[in-house]
């Protein structure tokens, strides 16, 4: 018992003060939200689009490229091949968007798209129960979701909790591309929710 208490003192208080305090330091090589433009771009050059392994970068003749962060792997091939430096990855870690279209970054994108919904914030204030379903997730999303519940991040502080059944949940978190073999298992719990894409 005494040893356990001693170890408890040694391990210290580790819960982050974020969002009231500063966010935890990001690794120097972290790649966050990409920005396009700010520098001239040779609109006939296709090097960035050709370098993208997943086709997230689209290039219309005569325009700046667009980058779909819903597809982007953040592999950073594109800034490496761009001759003018018109594409760069910032250290902005807030990448969420409230609609599929807003995940696409264009030369006109202004800052971070707002995701906070005032009505939702009032309804779910300090109590948001989520059900997570992995449907082809590679276990990295699952692992980092689990990290959110550890004592450092402790999302329980905000009343957010992952629950065991869709019956207890306000929302659904799906990880992975949805495999064919998970279609049915995913449809069953999701019938409780009205899936919206707006």
């Amino acid at each position: 018992m005494f040893d356990i208490l001693k170890a408890r003192l040694k391990q210290k208080y580790r819960t982050l003060s974020y969002p009231k305090g500063p966010p935890p330091p990001l690794p120097a090589r972290f790649a966050g939200r990409p920005v396009i433009g700010g520098r001239p771009c040779d609109t006939r050059c296709r090097r960035c689009a050709d370098a993208c392994p997943v086709g997230a970068l689209q290039r219309e003749e005569g325009q700046f490229p667009t980058l779909d962060t819903g597809k982007c792997l953040f592999c950073r091939e594109c800034p490496g091949v761009c001759p003018t430096g018109a594409i760069s990855f910032t250290r902005e870690f807030r990448l969420a968007a409230s609609s599929r279209e807003r995940l696409t970054v264009t030369a006109d994108s202004q800052g971070i798209p707002p995701v906070r919904h005032e009505i939702a914030a009032t309804i779910f204030r300090r109590s948001l129960k989520l059900r997570q379903v992995s449907a082809g997730g590679c276990n990295a999303c699952e692992a980092d979701t689990n990290v959110l519940t550890t004592l450092a991040w402790d999302i329980g502080r905000f009343g957010i909790q992952f629950v065991a059944s869709p019956r207890h949940a306000d929302g659904l978190l799906i990880t992975g591309p949805v495999t064919r073999n998970m279609q049915l298992a995913l449809k069953k719990p999701t019938t409780r929710y009205r899936l919206r894409n707006s």
């Binding site: 040893d3 356990i4 170890a7 408890r8 040694k10 391990q11 580790r14 690794p27 120097a28 090589r29 972290f30 790649a31 392994p53 997943v54 792997l73 953040f74 592999c75 950073r76 091939e77 997570q132 379903v133 992995s134 449907a135 082809g136 997730g137 590679c138 276990n139 990295a140 999303c141 699952e142 692992a143 980092d144 979701t145 689990n146 990290v147 550890t150 004592l151 450092a152 992952f162 065991a164 059944s165 992975g176 591309p177 495999t179 064919r180 073999n181 998970m182 049915l184 298992a185 719990p189």
Partner: protein
């Protein structure tokens, strides 16, 4: 791209495609049987379509720890052949896979059911059959009798984990039998990688099992490097080894925390959960990603360390080590925890050998299986990491092996950071040699990862085979649950902590 008939290769060495028809099936079976008896491991067993006629080749990769080499054996098979499983139990999951993928029937296989519920592959290279299997619909093994009941769990579980279906045959609390039915995570990665050299492939491999990104990416890059005859610089090899040991550290620490959580010992569970994140953050310092994506690239590494980062890593590693060892000590000094770990979910050494367990689970049962020392690759050729084994094969043994490996990994990373080779040559350009075969083994944190590949006449990847350690070990979990209490399943499951997507591919 017919496989070589019979050859012995070093880990990552290539062999030229053979024009001959391979050994006879009888010879094939005898070679395998004798090899397994002599203490070799079946690292891979698979089928490749034949070049010349409408048949197929059965290929085995035997890992021979005594001679430190891999034996590749090929033989021609028709639409069926006498099953190897009755004599070589370690082949049973492979033969189910062969039947599911290619429709080639191992006659006399005792348990011939789908393992992934994936569409069958066509031997002529055309579109697969439209008759798709329905996942989870199969004949489950059943125990009949008064008071016997069945418990079905999954595919969707209560926690934030991957999907899989488990069926327990119970009498009261006691589990007589557990059947594990997977395939929910099948994405078709293996097949996609075997169809060409697209730049997307590296990213597929990195997400093959997200927690083993370094292990699988290293195996893949070593396949390409072998085929291209390229050697990464010693510095790149050292950085790869640091990344591999960081991956092992993060997962082992996380696993011990999760096991503590499952027996209700919250202090260690909380500390380890946090410390695991700190180790992942070190990997993020290396490459910007907590799971090491983008770090291992064909020919070398995507990122290098400078002096500042080296000393930063050393400093943070010291803090993490102090915290981790103190948290783990709590776990092993609490009698109620030891009582819960001790004697639960035992797999004996002989059973482990028979069914071909690898990695942490194999070593916990007393098998000295560790690719890092048996078939050293990369920087493991210059630095020896001791093999940590235990003999009892229970949850306590799997926890103890992790604890020992955590200590070894800390020491190995520290030693590497102290003496990183100085040269900084960029990754070389890859041109794959045509008509070659290669087998590459690495020791991921779960255990042996085996990648086998072949190139066609143009030097394009024409065949790719991935064997994740979970492929060998899922059946071990089922065996460990026999005669155990069903309430011990979460603990047993965590003590193995196998990958669903690594198995389903």
């Amino acid at each position: 791209m017919n496989p070589p008939i019979l050859c012995s290769l070093r880990n990552g060495e290539t062999a030229v495609c053979s024009q001959e028809s391979g050994v006879s099936f009888e010879q094939f079976r005898t070679l395998l049987g004798k090899g397994i008896e002599a203490g070799h491991r079946l690292s891979a067993l698979f089928v490749v379509p034949d070049d010349s006629f409408d048949g197929a080749r059965l290929v085995a990769v035997l890992a021979r720890p005594m001679s430190g080499d891999l034996q590749m054996i090929g033989c021609a098979v028709g639409s069926s052949y006498p099953a190897l499983t009755p004599g070589i139990p370690a082949a049973h999951w492979f033969e189910r896979e062969i039947f599911e993928q290619w429709g080639i029937r191992p006659e006399g296989h005792p348990w011939l059911k789908p393992i992934r519920f994936q569409p069958p592959r066509s031997r002529s290279g055309g579109r697969p059959s439209l008759l798709l299997p329905t996942v989870g619909v199969t004949e489950f093994f059943r125990v009949e009798g008064e008071d016997v009941h069945e418990v079905a769990v999954g595919p969707v579980h209560a926690g934030v984990i991957e999907p899989g279906h488990f069926r327990f045959q119970c009498h009261g609390e006691t589990v007589y039998h557990l059947e594990i039915s997977l395939g929910y995570q099948h994405r078709g990665i293996e097949r996609a990688v075997g169809e060409g050299n697209s730049p997307r492939m590296r990213h597929y491999i990195e997400t093959l099992a997200g927690d083993s990104t370094i292990g699988h990416a290293t195996a893949y890059c070593r396949v390409l490097e072998g085929l291209a005859g390229v050697r990464p610089s010693p510095r790149a090899e050292a950085v790869r080894m640091i990344a591999a040991e960081l991956e092992r550290l993060a997962n082992h620490i996380g696993d011990l925390g999760a096991m503590a959580g499952d027996v209700g010992f919250l202090p260690a569970a909380s500390y380890c959960g946090r410390i695991r994140g700190d180790v992942l953050n070190l990997t993020a310092e290396l490459c910007g990603n907590r799971f090491g994506r983008g770090l291992i690239v064909p020919g070398g590494t995507g990122f290098d360390l400078d002096q500042t980062l080296e000393s930063e890593l050393k400093r943070r590693l010291d803090d993490i080590e102090a915290d981790a060892l103190s948290a783990i000590e709590q776990l092993f000094e609490t009698p109620s925890v030891l009582a819960r770990f001790d004697g639960v979910g035992e797999v004996s050494e002989s059973l482990a050998r028979q069914i071909g367990l690898v990695g942490v689970a194999g070593r916990a049962s007393g098998l000295p299986c560790d690719v890092r020392s048996e078939f050293p690759y990369g920087f493991y050729q210059f630095v020896h990491v001791p093999v940590c084994t235990w003999g009892t094969g229970d949850c306590l043994a799997r926890a103890l092996v992790r604890r020992m490996e955590i200590q070894q990994s800390f020491a190995a990373i520290r030693a590497l950071l102290q003496s990183l080779p100085a040269d900084r040559s960029p990754p070389a350009v890859m041109t794959l040699a045509p008509r070659r075969w290669v087998a590459s083994l690495t020791e991921g944190w779960r255990g042996e990862i085996c990648h086998v590949a072949a190139t066609d006449d143009e030097g394009q990847l024409a065949f790719y085979k991935v064997v994740d350690p979970s492929f060998h070990n899922w059946f071990g979990l089922a065996c460990a649950m026999r005669d155990q209490l069903i309430s011990d399943f979460p603990l047993c499951n965590k003590s193995f902590n196998l990958s669903y997507c690594g198995h389903d591919l």
